[in-house]
Amino acid sequence: MEILVCVKRVPDTSENEIEVNSKGTDIDRDDLVYSVNEWDNYAVEEAIQIRDKVGGTVTVITVGDEEAEEVLRREMAMGADKGILLSDEAFEGTDGRGIAAILKAEIEKGNYDLILTGAQADDGAGQVGGMLAAMLDVPYASLVNYLEVIDDKKIKAGREIAGGNQEMNEIELPCVLSIQTGINEPRYVGIRGIRKVASLDIPVRTAGDLGLDASAVAPKVNRVDYFVPEPGEGAEMLEGSTEEIIEKLVEILKAKGGIK
């Protein structure tokens, strides 16, 4: 099975405090620690497990600048066979639809049976997979937390819905799925693993290579600014020494019925 996994390099929210820059045009990107979007690791792990079971290849792909190559390498260290970087100044500032259009252009040059994305990335939009599927005219299922290959034409996919319940679907290949966290336990990648793939070639494709002109990636949706909303009243913050805080908190908990 030919599997493609779309990944994204994002600022790691557990390692950074995300703040708006002084002009409000972007977040402050100085000294940010970047990593692979959390959801994408699950997608890559799933792809590797499927390949190991039924054979085939796993290709990881991203749209980004040259620094995005590091996340491709990380996913190759996990076990992906190939990486492709789609990079061009013309891609900067595009929207989700543009990213999907760029991916589509490359995908049409290949012969993929299964295309996976993460359920969402740093902007919380969760849009690229669904758009890509619609553009390719293949079925889509989002929030997949169970995946089983039935044969080389069909899969069974469980979608996570409300209350921890699961919606089971049978889907014909090729298709696009967005993968939800928890579907598997992504393997750990050590420094040694990254070194092993350091010299592998990762081809770069530009707008020209993909036959895309500016209008194909012109954004329909534009971010005007970043801001931090006026904080509401918020919580009453307990301050003082740890002892004082605990004394106050115990009193409050007792009053509210929090200590039985």
């Binding site: 929210t13 405090e17 995300i18 977040i27 929207d95 639809r97 999907a100 359920a119 902007d123 919380g124 939009a125 969760g126 849009q127 690229v128 669904g130 758009m131 079925p139 889509y140 299922a141 989002s142 929030l143 069974k156 469980g158 979608r159 819905i161 409300a162 209350g163 921890g164 319940n165 699961q166 919606e167 089971m168 679907n169 889907i171 298709c175 967005s178 928890g182 329909k220 949706v221 971010r223 005007v224 801001f227 931090v228 904080p231 918020g234 919580a235 009453e236 913050m237 307990l238 740890t242 805080i245 605990i246 908190l249 115990v250 409050i252 908990l253 007792k254 019925g257 929090g258 039985k260």
Partner: protein
């Protein structure tokens, strides 16, 4: 003619979802003069019940009845909607598991811009709609705009808009079933697999000690267990704890986990994502402990402590023990 805004109504077993009335408020925020039309897809008696109920709140209800739509398979619903919606439709679908399944593809097929997970609207100027979204798990907000002259697909965040309870529309249902065209798809819905029941039913707990990714390591869960025991509370958690398999799925609070209604909720090392908070109902008293003073959880908590839970929690347990 006034702008038409179409609200997709989620429903289950004949009962509309809470978002059904929230979308009216969202639509009016986009354009106070808009005519807002409920679109209800489904089949049989359940569908009729929902359509009838919606006519109280929407002046126009579009009903789409088809046996294949008895369960909302997003691929089929998308085809039906593309069949009936006008070219310049403003379409609202709640941003939850179904909205995420349907909306990105719908926007492509309608050739309209997509505005996902919208928490507020600034309104329309000319043909430009400006909305507010959040990025980076709610740590920053953005204004985002799009030209909606050719329509737009928007997924408003559930719980971000007050439900419009006025129920004074006195509306009418129109049957659109004849216009949907072919619904064939190569994605077939099979069944729902219900969540496993866990050892503790956190939906019945009065006091919950809830732990998030801030606990860092499975071994550290011990301090949470000790605190819960001292308080006489049950333990719940956020999603990453379940993903890591440190606690069972039935302890997860949130839109894809359990909906809890405790009196007191202790959020320890939890950032306060909307999917997590969406599982907390009945306005409990919320105590948050987080090492980041800017964590969004402090916006919704009643009492907050900026501290490292690994140090603070054992001291709190001791403090409670001394009191007893």
């Amino acid at each position: 003619m006034s702008r038409q805004v179409f609200a997709y109504i989620l429903h289950k077993e004949g009962t509309p979802d809470d978002t059904a009335l929230e979308l009216i408020t969202a639509a009016k925020k986009i354009d106070p003069d808009a005519s807002v039309i409920a679109v209800v897809t489904g089949s049989g008696d359940n569908l009729n019940t929902v359509c009838n109920e919606m006519t109280a709140s929407y002046s126009e209800v579009w009903k789409v009845d088809h046996a294949d739509l008895a369960y909302p398979n997003a691929e089929l619903v998308r085809k039906a909607l593309v069949g009936i919606l006008p070219k310049d439709a403003v379409v609202l679908v709640p941003h939850e598991h179904f909205g995420l399944d349907l909306s990105p593809g719908l926007s492509v097929k309608l050739d309209a811009p997509y505005l996902p997970d919208v928490v507020d609207f600034e309104g329309v100027e000319g043909d430009t709609l400006k909305v507010i979204r959040q990025e980076f798990s709610g740590m920053v907000s953005t204004h985002v705009q799009a030209d909606i002259s050719g329509g737009v697909v928007i997924t408003p965040r559930p719980g971000s808009f007050q439900p419009d309870e006025s129920k004074s529309a006195g509306g009418q249902a129109t049957d659109k079933s004849g216009e949907i065209g072919d619904l064939a798809s190569t994605r077939r819905y099979l069944e729902i697999v219900e969540a496993e029941v866990g050892e503790v039913d956190i939906t019945k707990s009065d006091v919950l000690v809830s732990v998030g990714r801030g606990i860092e390591d499975q071994d550290n869960l011990e301090i949470i267990e000790e605190l819960a025991e001292a308080m006489g509370a049950d333990i719940s958690c956020s999603r990453p704890i379940v993903d890591a398999k440190w606690l069972e799925k039935s302890r997860q609070v949130g839109t894809s986990g359990q909906t809890v209604k405790p009196k007191v909720y202790m959020a320890l090392g939890i950032s306060g994502s909307f999917q997590h908070m969406g599982g907390i109902k009945g306005s409990p008293f919320i105590v948050a402990v987080n090492k980041n003073p800017k964590a969004p959880i402090f916006q919704v908590a009643d009492v907050g402590v900026v501290a490292d839970i690994l140090e603070f929690v054992p001291e709190l347990t001791e403090g409670i023990a001394e009191e007893k």
